[in-house]
Symmetry: D2
Subunit: 251 residues, 4 copies
């Protein structure tokens, strides 16, 4: 693979972030950002074993200095590469508390983890994506992972919804500002439980075997394929918002 | 191609319907429904030339008898095939009149062309899709083409919006009723002008060359690819609504 | 009461229509439209007993001739009055059938009862409201009653949702076209069960005493007061959509 | 006036907050919260001159300690009063910058001013409203002022939209959690320019005289009346979201 472009995925772990990184690694060197190396080390190894190129960088996207430092590292490690795709997949701030038990720190964790996180990330990636408009294989893309709580403030989801609504607001603003310049900003609504080790014991949707969203990149058109599909849309044909939901999920 | 499945596309012409038919013909024999043979004849020929299998049937989807007759013809022509995918792409009822000039016939044309049309079509295809759940290569799929007017009643779009809103309502009901049985019902919001001969003279979005939605199936990820992408989503991962919009379109 | 204006309410019965008519009758002579005299006779009597002025006219709003005839009658009966407010409160088309049992006639009943009904009614009232812009005590108003099914196509609500979505589309188009001319078009989302004799046995929301929406105009700020409130909004301050929901209703 | 209840309005100034305070002062003693005394001094004087009761307290709702201190002051000043209504009308965080010029401090100002502000305010008022459920003249009410940016992330409104979306998310969570306990939480979408001294020079909507929203409580059904209307809705009939828009505003 001799792509002159790379992709960056913020927020990798056992679920969506991992599968997206594996999928994009088929086409580009991929940079993985997560707060702790144990979140990306195995994925980096997996990509390399598969013949791909990957770098992991410990980054707290809620901290602008940490993000700045990560992008300096990227510049050193991939000096000749331009950015083709950026994925913001950071999850933060679900305390599942009723309002009377919720603290300002719970709310702050969600707002900073989600909205500051996307802001800091976008401040770095948007200028790089703009530099790639003329020659990238697909329109330079920023994909943001949302959730049911991006559309609906439910009981015990006040903090999470505040952060996710704010992220959606920023995403819409970015889409409306930068689409005319050729940047594709898409937001996904992941409406369901991702099937990862942490959720193995969740009994959702009657426990049906495919009642959770399978992020596995090995399967043909799973969640990672959706992100890849969004990335490869031509600019005459941008999708701004996409919902993803297991067939048994009520909505 | 020896697929035991087929696809049916209602509403084919120069734009979306044609490109979708060409795309699905790569995998399945395709039945094309349109009111007049001149709408499908060239597409049938194009598919056959490309080595695919296609049948055109003159059908008025607003008329339940015409739809019933079309599906009897299908049964005769493709006696051993099961239905994998159905696309409702019928456009109807845009008079562009202010309300004071609008007639009940304008409104009726939109409601019958859009809502009756989808209803009559779905009455035939849903039972067939249910029969395919166990063995179709992808979850049996019904895709419905919507528009900006599906979400917004604008000035001079009252009749069209009434029909398109009603179609979206039916689509949501179908999705919620049949997703748990394994049927994928998706609705697209095509927010922009399709680049077809009829719209060649439309000066939209500053006349930029890719300011219209290109339905051409020959290109890699255009509108037809989106429909194919929706069809191939696994059931742990259904998208219900997808917007499609040129990068220069205001929204 | 010597108002030179009148109000017209289409769709009166035991619930919202009755209470709205009683409320508007405090300020204007009120014309009540319903298919059958038994739907309006008692309300007309009640208004007259209270010192108000009321006329009932048997009208099928889905039939343009019937509506035309009703407005000819109005012109004869109230020759010097101008129209201040019109309320479209017609309910139609809920079969509560699953899709496989739904018939085209079920769908047609909803589309014609709801969308044709509003269209026929608006064709008559909008020109009359335009004539009142300069001297009516409040901005001339058209209020349309919607429901949960105006926003959401649920299982067994396909036909109703199709009609209600279409009505909302028309309402938005009317609002956007005629607001700049001084007409106030508002749409309500009545999300809950109206507490009328027909629903007395409905056990909703745990059977709490005020778990249903009380349409009684005798109480100070009930549903009829909301419609009056909408009517009396000045034109610097129009509400287009208003939801109404009992405190115990899940949403 | 010998009400045993009071109202509190956070965010008073020349516009909505002032008019709402004047309107609620007709029924209750009113507490006015603003960062600076010059924002509330004149309104307090105006209410007292009109025979009402009012207290102004310098408060930064974004700071939980400041809010706690304000409510301790309230307890001392109005020791026997219970809370009937609370209005969160704090505006914050509109830089009108394109994304490339936006700073994290701009975003933080919006998130803290809007979302932290509502959170800190609600943490104090919700418990007080719960104590009033049984005997308040109207269902205890929390009304939150939103804007167009609560629903839509536009170009140069990214920071404001992030804060306003987050506020709407919190408002929905509060409504869904506390409505069944009898608390009415409503959110308004003020879609237009408020006609206050600061906006006198704004040429909106062709400069028509009533092209801006007039917050003046002296007029019968202006914005303050809408808040009063929301407050007086009975619990069988709660409105969760209400849009307010001048007749000439495009939407």
């Amino acid at each position: 693979m001799a792509s002159k472009f790379f992709a960056v995925v913020a927020g990798v772990g056992a679920g969506t972030g991992r599968s997206v990184a594996l999928r994009f690694a088929k086409a580009y060197p991929v940079v993985l950002l997560a707060r702790k190396p144990e979140s990306y080390n195995d994925i980096v190894a997996e990509i390399k074993q598969g013949g791909g190129q990957a770098i992991g960088i410990s980054t707290d996207t809620a901290d602008p200095k940490s993000v700045a430092s990560a992008f300096e590292t990227i510049k050193k490690e991939l000096p000749d590469k331009k950015l083709a795709a950026a994925v913001f997949n950071v999850g933060a701030g679900l305390s599942r508390k009723g309002f009377l038990d919720l603290t300002l720190d719970d709310l702050r964790a969600s707002l900073e983890g989600n909205a500051h996180g996307l802001f800091n990330f976008a401040k770095r990636v948007v200028p790089l994506l703009l530099e790639s408009v003329d020659d990238s294989p697909h329109p330079p893309t920023l994909i943001i992972t949302g959730a049911t709580a991006s559309l609906r403030g439910s009981v015990r989801f006040g903090d999470m919804a505040a952060g996710k609504f704010a992220v959606r607001a920023l995403g819409q603003s970015l889409a409306r500002e930068f689409a005319p310049q050729g940047i594709h900003v898409a937001h996904t609504i992941v409406d369901g439980v991702i099937d990862i080790p942490r959720t193995k014991h969740y009994e959702v949707n009657g426990g049906k075997p495919d009642g959770k969203i399978d992020p596995d990149a090995a399967k043909s058109t799973q969640i990672a394929e959706s992100y890849w599909y969004l990335h490869t849309q031509p600019r005459s044909h941008f999708t701004q918002e996409l919902d993803i939901r297991p067939y048994v999920e009520k909505f």
